[in-house]
Amino acid sequence: MARAKIKKKDTFIDMTAMSDVTVLLLTFFMLTSTFVKKEPVMVSTPASVSEIKIPETDILQILVDPDGKIFMSLDKQQDMRAVLEAVGNDYGIAFTPTEIHKFSLAPTFGVAIGKMKQFLALPSDKQDEILKNEGIPCDSVDNQFKVWVRHAREANRDLRIAIKADQTTPYSVIKQVMSSLQDLRENRYNLITNLKEIED
């Protein structure tokens, strides 16, 4: 007796095309991506109609959070090293090569120079936790912010200063930052904003 043979269906799907697509997408993302820098505080910048793009290199970013804490970041590791040494010199603190190396790897810094040694000794996850509550002092009594900016400028002549502040930051804080920069004759700087359309 002839049994009706059920033809075994082939479930094999050809994934070659799919693979092609994914590789293409992957290449696209790899080439266009610029990684998000880890920032100690979340900052939402105000919107403006200005369409000037910020350059990618030689940037000294000053991050100001709503409470007025100030953080800074430099994009080149060699600048970071030079700045830490110079600022340490000013305050009579000598940093060991390992400390300097650790500092140069950090994406953002913002600790009072007196606490810097202690801070650098911590493991990096602890550092992130603590950094949120720190910030570079920038008041008339102890304006370390000014010292940092001055040495950053010395380390790299072509540096552009960019201020990234939260939209709810009170003006008094911004004024403090701006007048500190003015004292250093840093009269041209960028304010980082979001893009917004002009509504007519």
Binding site: V23, P46, A165, T168, P170, Y171, K175, N187, I192, D200
Partner: protein, 217 residues
């Protein structure tokens, strides 16, 4: 014909070896790629942040002489107060009359309308210039040169931005934004004076501060 057929038959007979299956299963590869894509998608910032370039006057250069150089008729002083309020006065402030200080808003019909009206000549010129650029009558460099000429030209208002400590950073950016929208080339951010703070307080009190002061004397 026959020959060919024979040849074909021969071939069929010969290839007894098992045909190798050359199909490769790409599924794991796709899986891995998807994972990598997800990773890159989450870690990238697509839009680069915009910036606004400003240049502040150097502190030492601003002597009292230069400060008063701005003609009173061309000066508009913006006072940014807390709670998103904005006031302005034209020329010299009149401390006696609280209505000389006008309240405005950050909306399109507030500050912008006022500034566009004051700067109408320049705005129209810029508009014409932009049209020329779109029609490819002038080059990019020419456009930039002419634009800065118009912005720095005579009879354009000079805006002095003074923010109180209660104002937020957003207010400042909004005010600077209006300068750009209204094509105002001459503007400056300076510290607020006591007189200006008094003006705002007097405005809030509907002028009673002045009459009180007069009564005391």
């Amino acid at each position: 014909m026959a020959e060919v057929q024979q040849g074909a038959n021969e071939k069929r007979g010969k290839s007894k070896q098992k045909k190798m299956n050359v199909r490769v299963d790409f599924t794991p590869m796709v899986d891995m790629n998807m994972l990598l894509i997800t990773f890159f998608m989450l870690c990238t910032t697509m839009s680069k942040p915009q910036t606004m370039e400003i240049s502040m006057p150097a502190k030492e250069d601003l002597t009292d002489d230069q400060k008063s150089k701005v003609k009173a008729s061309e000066a508009i002083t913006l006072l940014l107060a807390g709670d998103d309020r904005i006031f302005y006065y034209e020329g010299q402030p009149n401390y006696e009359d609280y209505t000389s200080l006008k309240q405005s808003s950050y909306n399109a019909d507030g500050l912008r309308a006022m500034l566009l009206k004051r700067n109408a000549a320049a705005v129209n010129e810029v508009r014409r210039l932009k049209q020329d650029k779109i029609d490819l009558k002038i080059s990019e460099e020419e456009y930039k040169e002419k634009l800065s000429d118009i912005k720095g030209g005579k009879n354009t208002p000079t805006v002095i931005i003074k923010a109180t400590d209660d104002a937020s950073y957003k207010n400042l950016i909004d005010a600077l934004d209006e300068m750009q929208i209204c094509n105002i080339g001459k503007y400056v951010i300076t510290d607020i004076t006591e007189g200006d703070e008094f003006l705002i307080k007097n405005f809030d009190a509907k002028g009673t501060l002045v009459s009180d002061a007069a009564a005391q004397q």
